[in-house]
């Protein structure tokens, strides 16, 4: 592909990569936009950790019901086949590895799949973790969506995270506007690049990149 992916195209790509019939949790922020590109044929069931499977799109107007919100506290809707459960059951579902995919944002991801996405580590910051560590730990696959480079140009896919960790060795894929990375036992493999090349990326990053498999 000849250009960097737009945020919309990145969300579309993640959506396409989710297997039909999957149970998925989309993190707050950029990952939420993935839901815009899931198709009816995929028959994806969305989980929200505050106690629901079968979450539908954001609610508007008369649909808004303060008893029906997502983890970002935004009013949402329910789809046929939805179910409600309490917080311990909801996090048991995550922790027990029942979700197929969780899509999260990140400050940094390490080559071995460590995730940092909850705390900048700034000494005066008030920490808040929410469900971030649970989301990182539980799903069969954890996909990260992020920009590959910080505003200062430093890569966010790194040998070792400098920010406080959210989870250890949990991320399996990293989706960025420049490339998709598969975090495998062999190392970090570039699946595809957008408007750049493996060589160019390698020159800007401190981790060894493996080429796409045939």
């Amino acid at each position: 592909m000849s250009e960097k992916l737009s945020r919309e195209d990145l969300a579309r790509l993640v959506a396409q990569d989710i297997q039909p019939g999957s149970f998925v949790n989309l993190g707050i922020g950029q990952p939420t936009s993935v839901s815009n590109y899931l198709t009816a044929e995929q028959d994806i069931t969305l989980h929200t950790e505050n106690g629901m499977l079968g979450m539908g799109p954001e609610a508007h107007g008369d649909e808004i019901d303060q008893d029906l919100i997502n983890a970002g506290k935004v009013p949402v809707t329910e789809v046929p086949g939805a179910s409600y459960f309490h917080h311990a059951d909801s996090f048991a579902m995550m922790r027990g590895g029942h979700l197929d995919v969780c899509v999260l944002g990140a400050f940094q991801v390490s080559a071995t799949g460590d995730l940092a996405n909850w705390h900048t580590g700034a000494p005066d910051a008030i920490p808040a973790v929410g469900g971030a560590m649970d989301l990182a730990t539980g799903a069969k696959d954890v996909y990260v969506m992020m920009s590959l480079f910080a505003k200062d140009g430093t890569p966010k896919l790194v040998p070792e995270c400098s920010y406080p960790l959210t989870g250890v060795g949990c991320v399996t894929r990293v989706y960025t506007n420049d490339a998709v990375f598969l975090l495998t036992p062999e190392g970090v493999r570039v699946r595809e690049t957008f408007g750049t090349t493996l060589e160019e990326l390698q020159s800007k990053m401190d981790i060894k990149l493996l080429p796409p498999t045939e």
Partner: protein
Amino acid sequence: MAKFAATAQDAVAGIQDGATVLIGGFGNAGQPMELIDALMDCGATDLTVVNNNAGQADAGLALLIKERRVKKIICSFPRQSDSWHFDTAYRAGEIELELVPQGNLAERIRAAGAGIGGFFTPTGYGTMLAEGKETRMIDGKGYVLESPIYGDVALIKALTSDKKGNLVYRKTARNFGPIMAAAAKKSIVQVSGIVETGQLDPEVIVTPGIYVDTVVEIAPQAAEGEAH
């Protein structure tokens, strides 16, 4: 055996200074706002509060914190755009914070109600929230030992109670209610309606009355109060 209180003030009477108070709700859903207001009015102080958040805007839990009635909060997500009363108290060193990943928070509350003395959870392993805690490798995976969170009192909100205190909830307002009701010595529940015993289908009761001590009916507010 559930008792029925005439007002929220009657329901919370008897909450002592120094009590650990579990407060249900996630966002506005399931938040027992009238019970929190009554706790404010009843004057109890030096409280330890367990809630997902640390108060929002100028209402409910945020006011308890503003008035320095909460010495410690156990929660997963204190910092929000409108958590200014918590932020101020925290930066002044006037409130203690125990930050717990949300799923561990839920499981610790569940453990208290279920008589579990502690459990190994993978969540938080290898992070700063596990520092100082016992860890263990089990089948090649890292776990952290977490302990139950018991409450002296739980304040929760349900949709309907029958005369035995059996409860049903509504949509995502269920959240922490069932586990908090089981984890507290005394559970105080505000409901939108009370029905005769036998009116709730035994298959759909979420919180059996054994977990409920005091019920108070609070008519739902008109939608205007919900807009924020």
